[in-house]
Amino acid sequence: MAYSENSPAGKVVQGIIADLPSLIAVAVVDATSGMSLASHSNSPSINPDTAAAYNTEVVKQKQKAMSALKLTNEKIEDILISLSSQSHLLKLTDNGTKFIYLVVSSRDTNLAIAREVLRTHVAELN
């Protein structure tokens, strides 16, 4: 998706691509509307904007589950979805208004490094 390189979201997407060049897809998403603020995909089959919309629902469901547990002091920091050969990571900003969505191949990417990259860049979105 074309994005402005001057916006914070655009800069974050570029920064993540620089740190994880083998990534499959990345997007910065508005957590309320599910719309991408900036995104990039290295794979023709993965549309990060579609994924962003669905993953927003995943986050909302989890937040509902947390209210059912009365976890008022807990915030979601990240969600890591392990698939057969891919890992999908969702990293929320501190105020929970946006999240970064990252898709990597589990075969060539160290998950701890990917998580750390997201942690570094999410601070630029606040």
Partner: protein, 148 residues
């Protein structure tokens, strides 16, 4: 001898805590679910919540909780929905070969782990305090107990 006063004491009444509670109908699935929760408890004794949940209905087969305030039926329903939403996302992305193995949610002070069981019809849900364990360990325990 009738001991009614025991019913009025706090530990006598209400939902049980600190023990595995069967929820589903008796049968091999329930027995397997209880056995799985027992394995989780053995490996992660400090676990806060654990449940085996049916993916399609969101209903628990067996649960374990350390506090009575947890609205376990609602929690199980929402977590099943988290997995279902993720599966929908994968379908929309046209990734048919990818199967969900697990979902790890890091909160400020807790870790919530969801693991799909080999049958694909149930999930194991575990909540631990991050002070008691780490993500890699909890994930490894889930993998071992779920038999995947």
């Amino acid at each position: 001898m009738k001991l009614d006063f025991l019913q009025r004491l706090p530990f006598g009444a209400g939902r049980a805590t600190h023990r595995i509670v069967p929820v589903g109908a008796a049968g091999p699935e329930l027995t397997a679910a209880e056995a799985m929760l027992q394995r989780v408890l053995t490996d992660l004794p400090e676990v806060l919540v654990a449940a085996v949940v049916q993916l399609a209905s969101g209903q628990a087969l067996a649960t374990y909780a350390t506090a009575r305030e947890f609205n376990l039926p609602k929690v199980c329903e929402h977590n099943a929905e988290v997995i279902r939403q993720t599966q929908q996302a994968l379908k929309a992305l046209q990734l048919p070969e990818e199967q969900i193995e697990d979902v790890l949610i890091t909160l400020s002070g807790q870790l919530h782990l969801l693991r799909l069981l080999p049958s694909g019809r149930q999930l194991l849900y575990v909540v631990v305090d991050s002070h008691d364990t780490n993500l890699a360990l909890a994930r490894a325990v889930m993998q071992a107990c779920a038999g995947g």
